[in-house]
């Protein structure tokens, strides 16, 4: 949805307004932190799979840092396929973790361009961080009790992260 708004407002990738709007969405916290004795989880619900995946990404990065770190804007295109939606969700979040760890890219505004139960294409806007002042290290996205469920209002899931 944010992608359409950017287009409508004619906000290019480097636009400061675009970045501010992304931070605003990031801070809306459209997820719920779920307690776990050793690790942490997030519960996410969305009217569409696209919303579910985008909010799951925002939730994961909120766990990593409640405020996005300083850096310069960057975006990455992600295209993934998986045999089932749960695996696609794990792969999607794992891809973002990989970009954070190896490319120092902190995702802020995921724009899902295409999503099917086993396929996703997205452009993810965010910051290439200058040194990482982050507060939690997520080792991995777990498969623990993972199930993407259909509800009357759309989809929901709970994802646990290994810290």
């Amino acid at each position: 949805m944010t992608g359409a708004i950017f287009k409508w407002l004619n906000l290019g990738e480097a636009s400061p307004l675009r970045l501010q709007f992304s931070f605003f969405i990031y801070n809306l916290h459209m997820f719920e932190i779920v307690d776990h004795r050793a690790d942490i989880g997030i519960h996410v619900a969305g009217e569409t799979l696209a919303e579910l995946f985008a909010d799951a990404a925002r939730g994961m990065f909120f766990v990593i840092s409640e405020q996005p770190p300083e850096g310069w804007p960057e975006s990455h295109i992600i295209e993934l396929e998986a045999p089932e939606t749960e695996q696609l969700l794990v792969d999607w979040l794992s891809e973002l973790l990989y970009l954070l760890e190896v490319k120092k890219f902190f995702a802020i505004s995921p724009e899902i361009e295409l999503i099917e139960p086993t396929r996703i294409k997205a452009t993810v806007g965010g910051m290439r961080t200058r040194g990482m002042s982050l507060s939690a290290e997520i080792k991995a996205v777990t498969h623990h009790m993972l199930s993407v469920d259909r509800t009357l209002n759309g989809y929901e899931t709970t994802i646990y992260f290994d810290l």
Partner: protein
């Protein structure tokens, strides 16, 4: 929430059983070692259900076990031990965890605790400067593709060759710091990429470097053999295989999801995905896991090198003269192919999963260094950053009851969210200062999450192991300086 009072049988004051008939699908009973203080908390947790879930895995032998530091994990409980038949059992990446060969090592010294306390601030600052730690922190070591390959194959031996750690350290690492690996092909490019700049980094969360005082000796002879003397200083290091190990686990779970379907394995939790030990998928995971384990040993060797250098700078003497010899290095997230006598009295090759549990081979076991053959391998049990850690020895009973395993630490008592909501950093720092502990941490959040009260009292965990007859205590270590990521 399951009503565990109805499902458990008390075998003794330190051991409970979940009978095989309690839940449909259990192939063996669950056995949990838990003293009175541990049990009251355990019965309000869902961790026993994870013991039950593990008991449903194909080829599990005798029991699904949990140590007294048990707490809720994902897939396996933390503190879980499960041995699967090599011939018709399974191997599970979830039974090892993402941080493959997360482990602990202990370095002794001739330095008096009084001297270390006098220099605590300088020591903390120096260690914090020299040891890369914290979220996403890279180290100074950059590994080429060839270096990564050698690290995966040779583990700590590669580190020693490059000048990190001493050659004599190798004898005092479990498996001499390297598991044999047939094939590194199953280790993905991405895993190698994640490991390329993370060798010699501590990480974050519960990983630490701690300078400790040998506060109490319970077994003079064993302590003498280990080089531990009351009132002297030890250094404990807790870290693992970093992003390389996390990626290998992630890659393997994905393959195991498909393999589980292929072999018709139905499991109550996706995180338990597994494949027969001797299947192509099982062998691929075992090889990749060995590579990650070797990377972790090399990592702890590099961290040891940095810690020794810090001590040299602060105390103005070479680490050799400071007597900074390695006591032992144990892994507590691993699957090992070992031979054990099962309850039916047969010796069998088993794949022993230890997820948050430590190997504790007793005196006379052929797989431990000559120096320790008369007493058994040292078992290192870190506690929280305010109270204590312990050095234990396994008894002969561990070979009969727990596939040669005991606890790995204190185990969490409070979730991270609850720790953040109920503690404040200033109080924690004041509390630590009152206990004579100097803390250096990268961020406030890790201080809150790692608050001593967020963990079980490690003494209760150790008491359970000792009173259940699994272990004897050698020494208690008290923190002086703590470095956290």
């Amino acid at each position: 929430m399951t009503d565990w009072q109805k499902s458990i049988h008390k075998l003794s004051d330190y051991k409970i059983k979940i009978p095989r008939t309690s839940f449909e699908g259990m192939r063996v009973p669950g056995v949990i070692y838990a003293g009175p203080e541990i049990l009251s908390d355990l019965l309000t947790d869902e961790a026993p259900m994870q013991v039950v879930n593990v008991a449903m895995m194909p080829g599990i032998v005798d029991f699904s076990l949990a140590m007294p530091d048990i707490h809720y994990g994902y897939g396996f409980p933390i503190g879980g031990v499960a041995a699967m038949s090599e011939s018709d059992g399974v191997i599970s990446p979830g039974g090892v965890g993402f941080d493959i060969n997360c482990g602990v090592r202990l370095i002794r010294s001739n330095i008096s605790a009084a001297d270390a306390r006098e220099k605590a601030d300088a020591l903390a600052a120096q260690l914090f400067r020299d040891i890369p730690c914290g979220v996403g922190e890279s180290g100074d070591i950059r590994l080429s593709g060839g270096d990564i390959e050698k690290t995966l194959r040779k583990g700590a031996r590669w580190a020693v060759k490059k000048g990190y750690g001493w050659a004599e350290d190798l004898e005092f690492c479990e498996e001499n710091g390297a598991l044999e690996i047939d094939d590194t092909d199953p280790i993905s490019r991405r895993a190698r990429e994640r490991g390329a700049n993370q060798l010699g980094t501590l990480g974050a969360g519960n990983h630490f470097v701690e300078v400790q005082e040998v506060e109490e000796i319970f077994d003079e002879r064993a302590a003498r053999i280990m080089g531990l003397e009351k009132g002297t200083v030890t250094v404990m290091i807790h870290s693992g295989s970093r992003g390389l190990g996390h990626q290998i686990c992630e890659d393997s779970i994905k393959l195991m999801r498909v393999a589980a379907q292929k072999y018709g394995i139905d499991l109550p939790d996706r995180q338990l995905s597994c494949a027969p030990v001797n299947s192509p998928e099982g062998r691929a995971y075992y090889n990749a896991m060995c590579g990650a384990a070797n990377f972790a040993w090399a990592n702890r060797h590099c961290l040891t090198h940095y810690a020794r250098k810090s001590f040299e700078r602060v105390f103005g003497a070479p680490a050799e003269r400071l007597g900074m010899h390695l006591v032992y290095d144990v892994c507590h997230n691993i699957a090992k192919l070992e031979e054990h006598e099962t309850q039916e009295g047969r010796r069998r090759r088993l794949c022993v999963h230890r997820k948050g549990a430590t190997r504790a081979f007793p005196a006379g076991h052929p797989d431990i260094p000559d120096r320790y053959s008369a007493i058994g391998q040292p078992v290192l049990v870190p506690g929280d950053m305010g109270r204590a850690s312990y050095v234990l020895l396994g008894t002969d009973l561990v070979m009969k009851e727990t596939f040669g395993s005991i606890c790995h630490g204190a185990g969490r008592l409070k979730s991270r969210s609850s720790a953040k909501a109920n503690f404040n950093a200033a109080d924690i720092l004041a509390g630590l200062a009152g206990r004579g502990v100097t803390l250096q941490a990268k961020c406030k959040k890790s201080i809150l999450e790692e608050a001593p009260e967020a963990y079980k009292n490690v003494t209760h965990v150790v008491d359970t192991c000792v009173n259940a007859g699994l272990a004897t205590a050698v020494a208690r270590l008290r923190p002086i300086v703590v470095i956290k990521g």
